[in-house]
């Protein structure tokens, strides 16, 4: 297997954006190619979760490639629900590791803010098992079932969960590309509207637009892809034994660390899929970055803050940077690359190994990516 390097990475601002989705993706892609000092890739991998329904366009790989001026470059689209960006990264990684391509552009994006919140919730909710969906189980409902079970466990209370959102907003305030740049307090989180008991509005990530891109090469660059792992689980949550941990993340982390040849103790910074604040605590334990039951108190003690032992979501995470679905897995990797190369002003942490973790749907198709500065 060939070594795979990240030669360039860039992204758009995340938020409520005017530009059409193909424009956002072209802007991110062109910027990543400039950062990589490449004019054209050998292949392109496109990630979008649901452009057919969010923006009404199909055949989207060709659409985006043509739009950005690469009509004659081979292009495919990859989709694994909300982790599509991470899955597309893997597809690009595999093309280079196998020797099939020398330079691959991976670009992900989503545009959702032009639709109403109920419509967006319905479209995202289609990633849930049809029977469970027929009972009104949306993503927030799924997250609420997980959260209540988590809170019945010793060591995870309202304050531990709220602190995830507080910490990620504090980081987002330092990231000029973040959707939310305001600092919040635990009281504000705990006083916000109940969405799905016990989950409140400020526990949930926003609906965002945006795009992110990376350029992968077989040629040596400053960041090496040390490992990529995928994990899966049943679509239906009723067929799983565990509710307070995601087997798909545990499997993905195990595979990524085996490929990298090192363990969680080498990780200096992490971008975690905090679509709902409690998912950050669960994911920190599922990836092995914290022992079971310890992520809550560690978060409250500041261990995951920018100046903590293991900074988590320096970008602001899904909560504050925002969550434009298929862009997210790649936006996490862009942040990791910027952190590893010293290009994260005002939120820069000292690091040589970064971990990105992405959750697809209700924890059905999860990814862990390990990057190393060389």
């Amino acid at each position: 297997m060939n070594d795979v390097w990240v030669a360039g990475a860039d992204m758009t601002r995340i938020g409520r954006l005017r530009e059409p989705l193909p424009d956002l993706m072209a802007v991110a892609a062109h910027a990543a190619l400039r950062a990589a000092d490449r004019e054209r890739p050998d292949a392109i991998v496109v990630a979008t979760m649901n452009p057919e329904e969010f923006v009404g366009d199909a055949n989207f790989a060709s659409h985006v490639a043509t739009h950005m001026g690469f009509a004659d470059v081979p292009v495919i689209r990859v989709e694994t629900a909300s982790s599509s960006g991470a899955a597309a990264f893997y597809a690009g990684f595999a093309q280079i590791a196998s020797g099939l391509a020398g330079t691959v552009l991976v670009v992900g994006g989503e545009k959702m803010t032009h639709l109403t919140t109920p419509k967006v919730s319905e479209l995202i909710g289609r990633s849930i098992d049809p029977y469970e969906r027929s009972y009104g189980t949306t993503m927030p409902a799924f997250a609420a079932l997980v959260t209540r079970a988590l809170m019945s466990r010793h060591g995870v209370g309202e304050r531990e969960i709220a602190q995830v959102a507080v910490k990620n907003h504090a980081n987002g305030a330092r990231n000029p590309l973040a959707h939310f740049r305001d600092v919040i307090t635990i009281d504000l989180v705990l006083g916000s509207r109940m969405v799905a008991d016990p989950l409140r509005l400020f526990h949930c990530c926003p609906i965002s637009d945006g795009a992110a891109a990376v350029v992968l090469t077989a040629e040596r660059a400053s960041v090496r892809v040390a490992g990529v792992g995928q994990g899966t689980d049943t679509l239906a949550i009723r067929h799983r034994d565990a509710l307070t941990s995601f087997r798909a993340t545990q499997t993905a982390a195990g595979a990524a660390f085996v490929m990298a040849g090192f363990g969680p103790e080498r990780v200096d910074v992490a971008e975690i899929h905090d679509a709902f604040a409690p998912f950050e605590l669960i994911s920190l334990e599922d990836t092995g970055l914290f022992p079971p039951g310890k992520a809550g108190s560690a978060t409250l003690d500041g261990e995951t803050a920018l100046d903590g032992r293991l900074p988590v979501n320096p970008s602001g995470g899904l909560k504050a940077r925002g969550h434009p679905l298929a862009a997210t897995g790649l936006a996490q990797i862009v942040e990791c690359v910027w952190q590893l190369t010293g290009y994260a002003p005002r939120r820069q942490v000292s690091c040589s190994v970064a971990l990105a973790q992405s959750i697809g749907g209700p924890g059905t198709n999860n990814w862990v990516t390990l990057l190393e500065a060389r």
Partner: protein
């Protein structure tokens, strides 16, 4: 009276699925028909204050582990006093499953909170009330 719920069992790993599934989610084999008792323990529950289209707020959802091994998603009239670990009965009202023991008025209310054509709702309510009356009689005789 505890209802029996239709389910299926994997001949390889023994996973019980309710409602029944054609293939086991973990093995590429056809599942065998089975049934499980409609009673179990609450694994988790939530109340949605902005439920999706087709449901009225507040919408109560629970994940229940049935005595027969299957976990089950169902609705409820309320979650007041409900705890993780609470024992509940599962009842079918029409084609929809609800946790806890429901009174006649609860059934009427639950029907109206689920979207559907007025005619269907009235039919379902009538069927439900008839079923309850029959159950009440059988309990009285027992």
């Amino acid at each position: 009276m505890i209802e029996r719920l239709a389910a299926s069992r994997c001949p390889v790993c023994g996973l019980v699925a309710a409602p029944p599934a054609r293939w086991c989610p973990r093995h590429p084999v056809e599942m065998a028909r089975a049934s499980v008792a409609g009673a179990g323990e609450v694994i988790s529950f939530t109340t949605l204050h902005s439920p999706p289209a087709g449901f009225r707020s507040p919408l109560h959802i629970a994940l229940v582990e049935l005595a027969g091994g299957a976990r089950f998603i169902c609705h409820g009239a309320e979650t007041l006093g409900l705890r993780i670990g609470s024992r509940v009965a599962i009842e079918a009202v029409g084609d929809v499953y609800y946790f806890s023991h429901l009174g006649a008025m609860d059934r009427v209310r639950l029907f109206w909170s689920r979207a559907g054509h007025a005619g269907e709702r009235m039919n379902a309510i009538a069927r439900s009330l008839a079923k309850r009356a029959w159950k009440g009689r059988s309990r009285g005789e027992g």
